[in-house]
Symmetry: C2
Amino acid sequence: MVNGDGEDRADALFHALADRTRRDIMRRVLAGESSVSALAAKYEMSFAAVQKHVAVLEKAGLLTKRRSGREQLASGDVEAVRSVASMLTELEQVWRGRIARIDELIASDSTKEG
Amino acid sequence: MVNGDGEDRADALFHALADRTRRDIMRRVLAGESSVSALAAKYEMSFAAVQKHVAVLEKAGLLTKRRSGREQLASGDVEAVRSVASMLTELEQVWRGRIARIDELIASDSTKEG
DNA sequence: ACAACGTACAACCATTTGGTTGTATATTGG
DNA sequence: CCAATATACAACCAAATGGTTGTACGTTGT
């Protein structure tokens, strides 16, 4: 029953990034490994709330966790960030196609006019 | 009372893109102008539902509408798409900083070892 | 004039989201 | 062993989301 195509993943990635706390967490864990409690200390919300944000990012594949003693160290996955960027590049390519078609029209018009 | 900083805008942009129907609408309106009803015809949901998706994209600045008679023609804004891509590039830069710091550590270690 | 079309918007509903508190479990330090 | 720490997770709640139907209104073509 899994959709399989990348749309589910795209949903998860964009959704995960559509929250400023989660984007801020991403900045921190991309800059360096950080325990969940170290992250939680940075925000004015409960530990559990931050834990949930980290879980959303982890499910989306934007960060990974590694256990070290009683701590869980989170680390940002830059490849996942790049995969989102490439989705946007694909969107931009669609737009380039539109421009190319407009250019063709202009070219054929000037043929008539020339 | 408006937050002013780009975080509100980033929230709106990522949220708008976190839905496959809206991403699909973006592909269509980036490829070329399309009326709301022409868009609605492409999806198995009510006209009103599609209208709401278009409104979300418009509020986020990802598309603009232009009236033409009784039709409302939507067109994708590639600059907005690029602005989202650049936010991701900034995230990637944070990660590059991490790597640079790691490289510095390695360099200072080999100084000791050399 | 008027029927059909394209759009806008309100009211409603089920589900998801983002937060809370409380409880349980594993690890560490003395 | 025991207290403190770090995490996990369930239950709960208000608000937002994504969908529906129904109604209203401007535009167009005959």
